[in-house]
Symmetry: C2
Subunit: 495 residues, 2 copies
């Protein structure tokens, strides 16, 4: 029997017609695929709206990549914590920053909606019992304490500080231990969901969507315990299965630059839900895009050094978020970057950053690296000339990190992909959706009964997302919108 | 009647089941969608293999974007013309260059195959009567005479000249008038196709593929003369409809960087065939990728100047192909680049390149541009220091273009996207195919009866394609392979 079911599964197309389904094994109002933060919030809101909700999760426990994260949620426009910490933020400033920092074709509609609702959304998270401490963490990396609010992006940095009034918007879930906020977030979402009557089936893998005669999605085929179960979902199916960074064939094919870096996520970030949505007629967007993380300037005193490409040129203000450094390093500098320090700021970087040159003069460094004479010397001269006056007009690094590098000996660390092994990425592309999560086809028309949220969809961080917390923000927020849309549709149908 | 048919067309899904086709209006062995160079060559080889072939073309005449091109075909490994002009080339050198110059994840299988067959393929083109003159054009831009062979890429330039032995591989069809080679190429292909019995239906638009019960493609629905005609194709359907650069919604969604540049192609490069192939289960690859053309260094004496980004830094050896300059300018320099010349090499560039600064010293230029002191000065000092010795060790510009820029006054031209209006792009992504053109699904399995060739498929220039002539090369070559594969399959079926 199990053998036969397995063969059935292998031969099953990703989209089957309901006319070929001989028997429904279960019947729910809403079927959610994946219990990360997006699926969890969709389930909670759908259940609160009166729907019977089943979440099928591929792993043996809920959590997804959300649970592996540090629990940073990007909120702004004047949250209770921002105000308590003395920061003045506005919807307009937040929108301007996200429009400027998320790529060539930012998702204006979703950005606009999220910025307007961000304060209310934060309050909703708090209402679930997710703890946030009203405290500010004055660094540009994730809190290593239980502090909350910090600059999780490059809001304070050039060029964004000229484009939008800066404010810290990274809200970190308060949890014991470093980077445990994501786990606590997910534990809370699971508790709330169960309390609301949401059912969860783990070790369950959706292998096909089921379509009605008109193309509307009316259910799914799920592998569980060696069998294929057909689950009817009269209010629709929500794809919340995460991105595809773990599917290295798909990465090479669609996001090839990310194939040079290590994948960040859980093993089931394999694109399965995106492919299901495509089979049902969903269009995709931004499939090439990824977040590139490379925390090479750690400890942060190293920000006072200068990052060089292999021509000895600077390429970013060194104080930007490590994701922006990563994006520039991978996409614009072929993954080969270096850090130059002098003896005054020298300290051992965290992790492997091989010293590839030392010397009392730029010429000695150039010779040791085999770089042309003047390559480092010219860069250093221009930097020092302005650093003497306490500023960095060429790249706009903030004054507090600017000091002339005039105390030999100098050292150059290799901070590139090959040398360091700390470049990680996850994908940003996914199914095209309306803000309600409805999956859209290539003409922009919704496919009835099909929703996608979280990293299985394209969202706030369209092609670039240099701020930590955007993934959990959009996962939780647009997850909620999808859950509410489904509940509302069920109600109007019943009426 | 026509009204009803039009409604039918509007409501028709892109993939219909043959069980719903009540009547076949025509019955052929092979249906080819699109008569550019790829569709034309597929048709010719299929017809020569004994198949009855129908090509449906959306325009009022065959030609496609191939006919609008300059007629450059990238061939190498020792063609008759290369040998006649005294160039020594090898399959291995050609392969090494294409592997290094076509992106992070080059298509090794297709590159390997094409390099091995390139000489024979060139001979085949000649055998059709396509004229090539055995002459060398000693510039890195398309011949403005009827000359043939030239360096159509960056083979001679850094870093490629260190990675592969250079040879010119751009073979230009001999035609009267500048850039008329593409038209002559297509006229010849049409003549040959008609001679071989290929039928052509113009003003005909494929709106859906027809699938058999097993998912194999067995025909298509074609709009022609106000009616929807169902055409059976027992040997399969070949998608040869070109790329999607004219579909600006699709570009914004999937290749957003290209949305900043003007589209290059014919109006029907709208992605229609790619979308049809996806509806039939085909996977896509490299949908973000595009060719960026920006011929800003014209006349070529301007190559002796230096290109700067808006930090006053150089970023490429100025002697590389304009497509490589374009790619760097758009993807790495935000489309903002400048050209610095001194009085000795000053000449008026072709086209609009506003002079944005003049001065006797770098400082005067910096002040006029509002750039930090030292930004241009440092770059110029390093360049001149090495140019004095006749070389460019930092970027590797060839010695013949290197001269110290030491004759004031200086001028800076704005060569960016906004200022010049000469940045054009076309898309490289498309359906995943085997070298035979068989369209592959996400698991890499062929969809029976479905082929894609030319720019509707992903090919030789995976994510980057800095050499002119690659599009016609792969269109003609892989078009042929698809036609031969179909003919062979029909024969083996008949046997």
């Amino acid at each position: 029997m199990a053998g036969k079911s397995k063969r059935d599964a292998m031969n099953l197309s990703r989209l089957v017609q309901d006319s070929s389904v001989s028997r429904w094994d279960d019947d729910v109002d809403t079927l959610v695929l994946g219990f990360g933060c997006a699926g969890g919030c969709a389930a909670i809101e759908a259940a609160r709206g009166g729907a019977r909700v089943l979440v099928v999760e591929r792993s043996s426990a809920p959590g997804g990549s959300s649970a592996l994260s540090g629990g940073v949620i990007y909120c702004g426009g004047g949250t209770a914590i921002q105000r308590a910490c003395g920061f003045d933020d506005s919807v307009e400033a937040m929108r301007a920053y996200l429009m400027a920092s998320t790529g060539d074709c930012p998702n204006a509609e979703k950005i606009d909606l999220y910025c307007r609702d961000s304060v209310a959304h934060f309050d909703w998270l708090v209402s679930l019992g997710i703890p946030f401490k009203a405290s500010y963490w004055p660094h540009n990396y994730e809190p290593t304490t239980d502090d909350c609010l910090y600059y999780s992006g490059s809001e304070e940095c050039a060029p964004f500080n000229r484009l939008a009034k800066p404010a810290p918007r990274g809200h970190t879930v308060q949890a014991e231990g470093s980077c445990m906020g994501g786990r606590l977030l997910m534990e809370t979402l699971v508790d709330v969901a169960l309390r609301e009557g949401v059912e969860v089936m783990t070790d369950a893998n959706c292998i096909a969507l089921v379509a009605g005669r008109d193309g509307a999605i009316v259910g799914a085929a799920v592998r569980h315990d060696g069998e294929t179960r057909y689950i009817r979902a009269r209010g629709g199916v929500v794809i919340a299965t995460g991105g595809f960074v773990m599917n290295r064939e798909m990465v090479a094919r669609l996001a090839p630059a990310a194939s040079r870096t290590a994948p960040l996520g859980n093993p089931f970030d394999n694109g399965s839900g995106i492919v299901l949505g495509e089979a049902a007629g969903g269009a995709t967007a931004n499939m090439h895009a990824a977040i590139y993380s490379c925390p090479v300037l750690n400890p942060p005193g190293l920000i006072r050094g200068i990052l060089l490409n292999e021509r000895g040129q600077r390429f970013v203000p060194e104080d930007v978020n490590h994701k922006r450094i990563g994006e520039h390093a991978v996409l614009r500098q072929d993954g080969r970057i270096f850090l130059l320090v002098d003896s005054e700021i020298f300290e051992q970087p965290a992790g492997v950053r091989p010293i590839v040159a030392t010397g009392d003069t730029p010429e000695e460094l150039e010779d040791e690296l085999g770089w042309p004479r003047g390559s480092i010397g010219a860069t250093l001269a221009v930097y020092n000339r302005h650093a003497d006056e306490g500023h960095d007009p060429l790249f706009g690094k903030k004054a507090k990190f600017v000091k002339p590098l005039t105390a030999p000996p100098y050292a150059v660390f290799d901070c590139g992909i090959e040398a360091t092994g700390v470049y990680y990425s996850f994908t940003l592309g996914g199914l095209c959706t309306a803000p309600t999560g409805e999956v859209l086809n290539a003409e922009g028309r919704a496919i009835p009964g099909l929703y996608a949220v979280g990293r299985a969809a394209t969202g706030l961080s369209a092609q670039s997302g240099g701020s930590s917390g955007l993934q959990l923000a959009e996962g939780t927020y647009f997850g909620r919108l999808a859950g509410r849309a489904i509940a509302a549709a069920l109600k109007s149908e019943a009426a």
